[in-house]
Each structure stands twice: as structure tokens, then as C-alpha cells.
């Protein structure tokens, strides 16, 4: 019995002193292997009398359990130390750059068009479209600008060559030829005519899109974007127009202190016609929309043209002007995008410079929603 205690003592010391799993295994074999001293001690039990056995067995079993436990514990320690050493050897310099996944962007014009669609959808407006290569009739005549109308001169129109046979010196066939003369639409207003012809009244639409004028300087490009608005129904008047634009600007700029000023103006396709000014102030070299234009430090800025649709336009579009009336407006999309998001160079919109697009473009996940506010904050 004394041997067992001594052996156990030295075995536990040896186990504790094992520095590798192999050394530990040697200790296991020496103690618990087939010929190990614990195993041999267990075998002696067979030769013992039942009384002796009853006394010795628990002691030997206890030693066996103690040794096995010590080995397990040591094994776990050694394994943990080995893993730790391995992990330590796997250390990375995580200040090195991760692989880049390229970031794309949505162009401000598209983003703002989506914002427009979202805001106006809430007011019951659908989005309508029409061709950019238009005929003279839809772009001018049906909008109450016949061939001799002086307002045509204000449009700087891009024309396509007259088709053979269409042009003629005699005035009557000249008129017919002119109706079909193809041009780049100078405004989105022809969509009014097309939409009314197609679906009639009542109607609520906006028509965003490209328009073209032969004009190029610091603030004008020969192609730009406009949005047309059209509401035709019974009992629609200028007050509704004012509310609609006010409501739109409040939602678009996400501020309540929007004030509009209507000024009488002239467009052949509306009567009465009004220019829409919005109050703004200067912050640094930026114009910030908001506040009353007559207040200290504020002024008015022209944002678009509008008015009550001229009854002749309704007639051209096949709508009974004695039953229906309504308003139309036009706004520059690039312009309101610049005002909202702080771009100052219109020409850069159309350059496709990745640096500009990364800076001023929008994340694809900035999808305008009413609940989150249609604007994408910087």
C-alpha cells in the first residue's frame, strides 16, 4: 500500500512535469498502460481474498482515477498551450488594407427624379413620358404657339433637316410641312398634350425628362432636365397651383418655412401665367432655400414658370375647356438638385467624371421614401 502511495506521488509529479503530449503519453503508458503499475496493481486484486479485495480495490481505483484525471487535465493544458502558440504564430497585420469592393453611385439627376416621383405620388400624380425628338405640332402649335408666334424665338430650338417634299415655298404647304418638322423638344410641355390625348381628363401627372435648347454658357447647357406638372380637373385654380408647389418644395427641401411669390408672366400655353419665385438666403456662397424673400438677408429666386392651362391647349389636346380646367408648371431639375445638394457647376453634371460622381452621387441604398424623408443627407 505504501508503494502505491509513493508511486502515485512520483507519477503525479512526472505528469505535472511533462512538457509535451508525447512525454505525457509516456507517463500514461507507465501508469495506465497494459503493463503500467496501476494496471499491474489492479491485476493483484484477482489473487486477493474477498476481504482483502474489499479493502484494496477502492484504494487502487481511487489512485487510477486520480492519475487518469491528472493526465486529462494536463493534456488539456498542453493542448491549450499548443493552440495558443499556433495562433500566436498566425498573427496578421490587420492595418494592411482589405480588398476593395468598388462603390457605385446614382447620379443626382436620377436621385432627384426619384424624389420628385415619390413626393408627387403621395399627391396622386403619376409619372408620364414622351419623345425627346418631337414634331413641331406637339412642341409648339398645340401649345398655342403657331408658326408666327414671337415666343418661338425665345426657345432656341434645335431642328432636324426638313424631310424631302415636306417643305415648300407656298405658304399653305409650308404650314403643313412645319407641323411635321422634327425638333428636339424645348420643354417637357408636349407631354401635356400627349398625356391628355391618351388618357383625357381628369389627370394628375409629372413628366420629368431631358429637354434641349441651343444655348451654352456658364449656367446653360444645350441639354438639361425639366419636370412638367399638370393637373386638369373641375374647379382647379391658381390657389391649388400655389399650394401644390409650396407643398412640393416643403417636402423636397424638408423645411416648413418655404414661401413662394407668384409674379404675373407670359407663356402662350397658360392663361393666366405666373412665374414662381421662392425665398432664399445666402449662406457663404451658397443659396439656401427657405424664409420669406422680403425678409432681412433674404431674396427671391425664380424657380419656374406656371399658370392655368390655356383653353386652346385643352382644345388641341381634345379636352373640353368648358368642363375642365387646371394648371401646369415647369421646373428645372438640375437647378433644384444644385440648390438642394450644393453643386455649383451645371456642366459637371454631364461630364461623367468618376471623382465628381463619387462625391455628388448617391448610394444606391439612399432610395427616397416618404417615411425616411425623400432627401439623402450628406
Amino acid at each position: 500500500m505504501t508503494d502505491l502511495v509513493t508511486d502515485k506521488q512520483s507519477a503525479l509529479e512526472a505528469i505535472a512535469g511533462s512538457e509535451t503530449l508525447d512525454a505525457l503519453e509516456e507517463q500514461r503508458v507507465a501508469a495506465l498502460g497494459k503493463k503500467g503499475w496501476v494496471s499491474l496493481a489492479l491485476k493483484t486484486l484477482g489473487q486477493m481474498s474477498p476481504e482483502e479485495r474489499q479493502e484494496a480495490a477502492p484504494a487502487i481505483q481511487a489512485v487510477r482515477a486520480e492519475i487518469a484525471g491528472a493526465i486529462e487535465a494536463k493534456k488539456a493544458d498542453l493542448e491549450a498551450a499548443a493552440l495558443e502558440a499556433q495562433l500566436a504564430s498566425e498573427k496578421l497585420d490587420l492595418t494592411l488594407p482589405a480588398p476593395d469592393s468598388p462603390k457605385g453611385s446614382i447620379h443626382p439627376v436620377s436621385q432627384v427624379m426619384d424624389e420628385l416621383a415619390e413626393i408627387f405620388a403621395d399627391l396622386g400624380f403619376a409619372v408620364a413620358t414622351g419623345p425627346e425628338i418631337e414634331d413641331d405640332w406637339h412642341n409648339f402649335t398645340a401649345l398655342n404657339m403657331d408658326e408666327s408666334h414671337p415666343a418661338r424665338a425665345m426657345h432656341d430650338t434645335f431642328y432636324f433637316p426638313e424631310e424631302e417634299g415636306a417643305a415648300d415655298e407656298a405658304s399653305s404647304s409650308e404650314a403643313v410641312g412645319q407641323q411635321k418638322r422634327m425638333l428636339l423638344r424645348t420643354h417637357t410641355s408636349p407631354v401635356q398634350i400627349r398625356s391628355l390625348k391618351e388618357q383625357g381628363a381628369p389627370i394628375r401627372i409629372i413628366a420629368p425628362g431631358r429637354v434641349y435648347r441651343s444655348d451654352s454658357d456658364a449656367t446653360h447647357t444645350p441639354m438639361f432636365h425639366q419636370v412638367e406638372g399638370l393637373v386638369i380637373d373641375r374647379d382647379i385654380h391658381l390657389g391649388h397651383l400655389k399650394w401644390t408647389l409650396e407643398t412640393f418644395f416643403k417636402a423636397f427641401f424638408e423645411r416648413e418655412d418655404i414661401s413662394l411669390r407668384l409674379r404675373p408672366s407670359y407663356f402662350p400655353f397658360t392663361e393666366p401665367s405666373v412665374e414662381v419665385d421662392v425665398g432664399y438666403s445666402n449662406e457663404g456662397n451658397r443659396r439656401v432655400v427657405g424664409g420669406h424673400g422680403d425678409d432681412e438677408g433674404h431674396d427671391w429666386m425664380e424657380l419656374g414658370g406656371s399658370g392655368m392651362v390655356n383653353r386652346r391647349v385643352l382644345e388641341f389636346a381634345g379636352v373640353d375647356p368648358d368642363e375642365y380646367q387646371g394648371f401646369a408648371f415647369g421646373l428645372g431639375i438640375d437647378r433644384i438638385a444644385m440648390l438642394k445638394y450644393g453643386m455649383n457647376d451645371l456642366r459637371a453634371f454631364f461630364d461623367g467624371d468618376p471623382r465628381w460622381l463619387s462625391h455628388y452621387g448617391f448610394s444606391p441604398f439612399d432610395q427616397p421614401t416618404l417615411s425616411a424623408g425623400v432627401g439623402a443627407r450628406s
Binding site: 447620379h107 434641349y212 407670359y266 393666366p272
Partner: protein, 801 residues
């Protein structure tokens, strides 16, 4: 239109301040585009009396003046002008004043050791003329102690934009009338200088074209003396931005600018025979006042004598009969021309003038006699001479439009409630005659009034648009309904999918240079090419989205940008069979430069390849809702791919053999050369109009699906196949071998060369087998494998050992 407040007050009796006038102009639709105040410009310049002039002690050409500005002690001023002398009156610029001609601020300074407080000014220094030989000499009675601006009577000049419907406001008088109606003061009656008409007009005046020139009034004045205009006239013309020329010319301009009434004065000595308004003969020429020769046609109206054309009617006079300084006898012309014809003529000739602007918009048919008498009176008063009696050929339109007006319309259309008597007052103040029962007779000059809506506009603009209150549009009940069309929904998704896959959205011009457009034009297709492009670079409507993106990529590369990943969603423009526009929604992608830059983990920089393009094409087609699993990749240079792409590294994606949804791949070196790009460049073009629309009626619920309970197993096969066998063909055959079991097939290795026989390649596939209601037994798997091998064998594939 530019005019001074002094001029405005010739016609408007008012105490309103400048700001009140400007606000009123804006409020009634006469938009103020600018104001210039000469008093601001001439601040610090005073009327001054030179008390003494002594020689400068140290300079021969300088004098030392003592100058009185009426403000205490006389000032000492050094002056080099030869005409400076004691007793004269002139203009002194005080320290702090800014010289208008050069922007220099005057300071107190010592000139050759003598202190000088300010500067005596020449006309040129004050931008008042070209005279710089000496300082300005003011008359004896000029009163010292006033600012020079006050003395000069110069007043603020406003620039007002007149809309094309208001030719009646293209004269100061008309603007005064509108302001008076708006309550800014009282319109003064026109002052007609008196003259005696003596004898019949010696020249026969006719109109042979009553349609183009319904009325031609005239008279002769003999014995006039032309010369410079008086100051008041010069000042008015200058405020309008016009250069005074001579009395006779200035007076016609004055009539036009003050009353919107163009007129013409001929030198009688240059005319022979009757003076007639008629149509031009085909090819007839006229040398106009702008010294250019115009060739006319019979649609144009001219004024001619028996020899030649002297006037493109209503647009510009002729050089040969214009008045000169020595002109003594003149013929005055006041006519009425058909407005549309003037516009057409002006556009045909490309000739603009102040007269045309007024005639084509419509002058007042009721102001011919007054205009003629006013011009005659002014000429006789200022240039002398004897006027003949007037002659009238034809008569101007005289039938006034009568509009039945319902005052309630002002509220119904204009959204503002204006009492009926106020509406009456406004209309009458604008010279509309309003009967008891609201029959409104319009003044003849208001060509713009077509019906009741125009009267609403008159009432509302004078009453004030500020009075229009916002009224909410009626709303549908409940939550707003969706309004976007399937095409709009698809485009929105596609844009965001493209941006999410790492592409920047660009917006490029719809028009291209000819060569770049033609390079991408489909064969035998005539493109839309502008008649009047703004430049040759913006001439032809794009037949593809790629040229614009390639040009952007080129600009980016030139700026040193390492890579371009750009897309654009927009229209391509073609000609429809009906001659109208056929505009097709398209998405273009260009991948140029580096796909990955050199990196510590990835090594050298890598460019884009055709598989990048394919990946994007498939991803975006899926986002657009195209049935990606049904798409076929078709051989390169097949119809639809186009010659712009690499013949071996480009393909189309089709739905069925004909319907091309997209093309993708590497661009042809010739394309890169045409766009001056260093390659390789990958591109994608997706034809959105070809993508079948999702059925709008389909609901929200998906087809029902439960993930299979049994585990799928995979089997690998390696086949030796002919080198030109398309991988997709083998894949399709294998997947079709046992449709119930095979749910996926994937090529994981492609190998050529090595020990493989000539003309062969090895394709290795992983096939996924999905057991349905019971697990596969070895025999099942064997049977499926045999079917796979057999199906592949039909394509010439042998299983490798």
C-alpha cells in the same frame, strides 16, 4: 427695355419711391431685370466753382486751383487741364470718389509737393463722352453745392423685361399706364407740340398690299435742319442704351421707345415717284441700314419708290434713303403691318431690330395719327421746317374685340375673390370699356386678349397675385396609391442594381460627334442629325449609350483616372417607319482601365475581361426581371453584337434565337482606336425595350416551395470534348440527362494542351443530384451517371478515366 425714372415721370405723375416703383413693376408682370443708379456711380462728384488758378511752383503744365464746392473752406486741387481757369465751373471728384471710367478711388495726395484734395474731371473720366482735352465746363448758372448727379438730372435707370404678349409696354408710356392702373400714380396726357400743316403732301403714298400693309400714313416736312439732339432727348436715349445719332433719327427712336411706335424718316431727295407698300419681287435686293444686302422674296412686304426698295417693311430702313446731317426735306412713314408676316420675314432674313420686335408682336392700330402728329410736331419744334398735310393710304384694323365676362371667373380660375366693382375699375384703368352687363371691349393695342381668361389675368395681376391663397388639392382617401408603370419600376431597380454592383451612373449628352455616332450606328441606319447643332461635337443623336460613356472614360483616363466603371440608363434614338422618333430605353456599361489596382495581396493590377462584362450583364438582366435561366449566350459577331466588339470575345444574350436582350464583351481594337482609348475595355449594352414586361396582374404570393428533406449529393465528371464545343451546350445536355434528379450542373475546370489530344479540351463538371422522396441507392446513382455520360457522348464527349 431700359429707361430712366425721369423719363417714366414724363408720363406718370407719382410720388412713389424707386423701390415702390420696382416692386410694383414686378408685381404686375413687368419683370425688373436690373437697376442702375447714376447717383451711386457719381457719388462724391460735386459741382465746383474754381475761385483761383495759380501756376504750380514745380511743374510747367500744372496749376494749383482753389475750388469752392459750397461746403465751407475752399479746397486746393492740382490740375493739369489746359482749360482750367479762375471763374469757371466744373466737376470735382472728392477723396473717396471712384472714377467711373477706370474704377480708381481718389485720394488726398501731394502732387509735385503740393497737396491736392480731389480731381477736376473730364467728360471721359466720368464716362459721359469721349472728350479728354480738358475738364468739364459747366454753364455759369450751375449751382455750387449740389452733387453732379443732381445737377445733371440723371436718375436711376431700370431694365424691364417685356413679355412677348405686351408690345403695348414696349414704350415708356405703356409702362406708365400699367403702373397707373396699379395705383402708383396718374397717367399724364400726351403733350402734342403744335404745328401748322401747309399744303398737300407732294409725294404719292400707296399701299398695294392691304393684307401685309393695311395702313400707310405719311407726310412731308421741308426745310428741316438736322443736327445733334437737345440734352433731354440725348439723356433719354442714353438711358435706354441707345447712342444719339442725329435729331431726325433720334426723334423716330424716341417715338418708338416712349410710345412703342416705330416710324421711319426718308430723305426726300433720295426718293423718286410714288412711295408704295408692296410685296417684294423675287430676288429683289435691298441695302439695309446695317450696311448688309438682303435678297427678298414675294412673301415679304417692302416700301419702295419707282426705282428701288427703301425699306424692309417694319424691320429695317434702307441705307440709300436714310437721313443725313445735310438732309433738309423728309418723308415720314407711320404704317401698320400684319404682325405674323413681319415675324416670318424677320426669321427668313435673320434680321432683328427694335422695330421688328414691336411690329411682329403688334403695335397699337389706334396710334397712327397720333404717332404721326407727335413726330411731326417734335420735328417742327426742334428741327424747324414746314409740314405738309398728312396722307392716309389704307386703314388699320379697327374692329375691337368684345369679350363677355363673368366676374366670378376671377375666383374660379384665378383663385382670388375680387369685388366686381374693383374688377371694373382695373379693366377701365387699362382702357377696357366695360358695359353694364359686362361686355368688355378691348383696346385695339391689346392683341393678346383672346377671351375671359385673359381678363382674369389682367384683374389678378393688377389686384396682386399675393392675394392668391394656397388651397390644398383634393386628396384621395387613405394611403397614396402606387403610380409607377412597370417600365418605370424596372428602370429604378436597374439603376440601383447597377450602382450597387460598383458602377457610377453618368448622364452624358444625347448628341454625339458624327464620327463617334456613325461608329456605333447599325448598318443601313440613318441617324437623327441636327440641322443647327450648337457645335460639331453635339450633332448626331446617339444610336448607342456606349460612345458617350467611352468619351467619358477617355476624359477620365486623360486626367489620370486609373479606372472607369460607368453606366448610363437613357434613350437611343432611331427613326421609326412613320418618320417619327423611335426612342429605346437602354442601359450601357463601360469598364475601362484597372479592375483591381496592384495590391499587397493580389499582385499586379488587373484589367477587365469579357467575363466581368458577362457577370454584370446577367446580374442587371436579372434585376430588370429578365428570365435569367432562359437566356442563351450566342456566338460572337452574330447579328446584334455589332462590329464594335471583339469578334472572339463578345456575345449577345438572347431569349430565343431572335430576341436580343443584351450584348457584352470586349471592344474591338478599331473601336478603341476610334475613341482614342488604351485598351482593353469591356462593355455591356442592355436593350430594355426587349425585356418582356412582368405581368402587371401577378400577385405577391410566390409559387409554393418547401426545402427538400433529403440531402443532395454531388458527382464529378470530366469529359474530353472537341475544342470548339461550347461549355453551355455540354452543361445543357448534362442537366437534361435526368431532369427529375439533376438540379444543378457547374463547370469547375477547363483544361487544354498538356497530354490531351490535338483539337480536344477537358471540361470537368460537378453535378448536383437531389433525391425527392427516398435516398439514392448505388444503383440509382449508377443509372444517372450512365445517362449523363450518354447525353454528353451525343456531343462527342468521352468520359475521362
Amino acid at each position: 427695355m431700359k429707361f430712366s425714372t425721369t423719363w417714366l415721370k414724363d408720363h406718370l405723375q407719382t410720388d412713389a419711391s424707386l423701390q415702390e416703383i420696382l416692386d410694383a413693376l414686378n408685381a404686375i408682370g413687368l419683370e425688373v431685370e436690373g437697376v442702375e443708379d447714376p447717383a451711386e456711380l457719381l457719388k462724391g462728384f460735386q459741382v465746383a466753382h474754381v475761385l483761383s488758378a495759380e501756376k504750380h511752383p514745380d511743374a510747367d503744365k500744372l496749376q494749383v486751383l482753389k475750388v469752392d464746392t459750397g461746403d465751407g473752406e475752399p479746397l486746393q486741387v492740382v490740375c493739369g487741364a489746359p482749360n482750367a481757369r479762375a471763374g469757371m465751373k466744373g466737376v470735382l471728384g472728392l477723396p473717396g470718389a471712384v472714377v467711373p471710367s477706370n474704377g480708381m478711388e481718389l485720394r488726398k495726395a501731394a502732387i509735385r509737393g503740393v497737396e491736392s484734395t480731389g480731381m477736376m474731371c473730364s467728360a471721359r473720366e466720368l464716362d459721359l463722352g469721349d472728350d479728354h482735352d480738358g475738364i468739364i465746363e459747366l454753364p455759369e448758372d450751375a449751382s455750387v453745392g449740389h452733387s453732379f448727379a443732381d445737377y445733371q438730372g440723371s436718375s436711376p435707370v431700370m431694365d424691364v423685361a417685356i413679355t412677348p404678349n405686351r408690345p403695348d409696354c414696349m414704350g415708356v408710356y405703356g409702362i406708365a399706364r400699367d403702373l397707373a392702373a396699379a395705383g402708383l400714380g396718374t397717367l399724364k396726357p400726351i403733350a402734342f407740340p403744335k404745328f401748322e400743316a401747309d399744303g398737300v403732301c407732294p409725294v404719292e403714298i400707296r399701299t398695294d398690299d392691304p393684307e401685309g400693309c393695311p395702313a400707310f400714313y405719311g407726310r412731308v416736312i421741308k426745310g428741316v435742319k438736322n443736327g445733334p439732339s437737345p440734352d433731354w432727348l440725348q439723356q433719354r436715349l442714353k438711358s435706354a442704351g441707345q447712342r444719339p445719332i442725329s435729331l431726325l433719327v433720334d426723334l423716330t427712336n424716341y417715338l418708338m421707345l416712349a410710345f412703342g411706335r416705330p416710324a421711319h424718316v426718308y430723305d426726300l431727295a433720295k426718293l423718286s415717284g410714288a412711295v408704295v407698300a408692296r410685296r417684294a419681287k423675287d430676288g429683289e435686293e435691298v441695302l439695309a441700314l446695317n450696311e448688309k444686302t438682303y435678297t427678298l422674296d414675294p412673301s415679304m412686304v417692302v416700301i419702295a419708290d419707282e426705282h428701288e426698295v427703301h425699306d424692309v417693311a417694319g424691320i429695317m430702313g434702307g441705307e440709300n434713303s436714310g437721313v443725313q446731317d445735310d438732309t433738309t426735306d423728309v418723308l415720314l412713314e407711320i404704317a401698320y403691318f400684319d404682325p405674323p408676316r413681319i415675324g416670318v420675314t424677320g426669321r427668313k432674313l435673320g434680321l432683328a431690330s427694335d422695330a421688328r420686335t414691336r411690329f411682329e408682336r403688334g403695335v397699337d392700330p389706334n396710334f397712327l395719327q397720333e404717332g404721326l402728329d407727335l413726330l411731326t410736331g417734335l420735328i417742327v419744334e426742334l428741327a424747324g421746317g414746314t409740314a405738309s398735310e398728312d396722307v392716309h393710304a389704307g386703314s388699320p384694323p379697327s374692329e375691337a374685340k368684345v369679350v363677355a365676362f363673368d366676374t366670378g371667373l376671377t375666383a374660379r380660375l384665378g383663385g382670388v375673390d375680387v369685388p366686381a366693382d374693383e374688377q371694373r375699375r382695373i379693366l377701365e384703368s387699362l382702357d377696357f370699356a366695360v358695359s353694364e352687363d359686362w361686355q368688355v371691349t378691348c383696346p385695339l393695342r391689346r392683341h393678346d386678349i383672346e377671351g375671359p381668361a385673359d381678363l382674369v389675368e389682367e384683374v389678378v395681376r393688377i389686384h396682386g397675385l399675393d392675394a392668391v391663397e394656397s388651397v390644398a388639392l383634393p386628396r384621395m382617401e387613405g394611403v397614396a396609391r402606387p403610380t409607377a408603370t412597370p417600365a418605370q419600376i424596372m428602370e429604378r431597380k436597374l439603376r440601383r442594381a447597377a450602382a450597387a454592383s460598383g458602377l457610377h451612373e453618368a448622364v452624358t449628352w444625347s448628341f454625339l460627334p458624327d464620327a463617334e455616332a456613325e461608329h456605333f450606328a447599325p448598318e443601313n441606319t440613318a441617324l437623327w442629325s441636327l440641322d443647327n447643332p450648337i457645335s460639331e461635337d453635339m450633332k448626331v443623336m446617339r444610336p448607342s449609350l456606349l460612345p458617350g460613356l467611352l468619351m467619358a472614360a477617355k476624359r477620365n483616363a486623360d486626367r489620370g483616372g486609373p479606372s472607369t466603371r460607368a453606366f448610363e440608363l437613357g434613350r437611343r434614338y432611331f427613326r421609326g417607319s412613320d418618320g417619327l422618333s423611335d426612342e429605346r430605353a437602354t442601359l450601357g456599361v463601360v469598364l475601362a482601365g484597372e479592375k483591381t489596382p496592384r495590391g499587397w495581396a493580389t499582385g499586379k493590377a488587373q484589367g477587365f475581361d469579357a467575363y466581368d462584362a458577362k457577370g454584370i450583364a446577367l446580374e442587371l438582366l436579372a434585376a430588370a426581371g429578365a428570365p435569367a435561366e432562359k437566356l442563351m449566350v450566342m456566338e460572337p459577331v452574330a447579328e446584334g453584337t455589332g462590329t464594335q466588339f471583339h469578334p472572339g470575345q463578345a456575345a449577345t444574350l438572347r431569349l430565343g434565337p431572335k430576341k436580343v436582350l443584351a450584348r457584352f464583351g470586349m471592344l474591338h481594337p478599331a473601336t478603341l482606336k476610334a475613341f482614342d482609348l488604351d485598351g482593353p475595355v469591356a462593355a455591356v449594352e442592355i436593350f430594355l425595350d426587349a425585356i418582356p414586361a412582368k405581368k402587371a396582374a401577378s400577385g405577391f404570393a410566390r409559387a409554393s416551395f418547401t426545402p427538400p428533406a433529403l440531402q443532395a449529393v454531388t458527382r464529378d465528371f470530366a469529359f474530353l470534348v472537341p475544342e470548339d464545343l461550347a461549355a453551355s451546350d455540354l452543361l445543357r445536355a448534362v442537366r437534361g440527362a435526368e431532369k427529375n434528379a439533376i438540379t444543378d450542373g457547374r463547370i469547375f475546370d477547363v483544361f487544354t494542351g498538356g497530354s490531351l489530344p490535338e483539337g480536344k479540351k477537358s471540361l470537368a463538371l460537378e453535378v448536383t443530384l437531389q433525391p425527392q422522396d427516398k435516398t439514392f441507392k448505388d444503383a440509382d446513382l449508377k443509372a444517372i451517371s450512365d445517362k449523363v455520360v450518354a447525353a454528353a457522348a451525343k456531343l462527342g464527349a468521352e468520359l475521362r478515366g
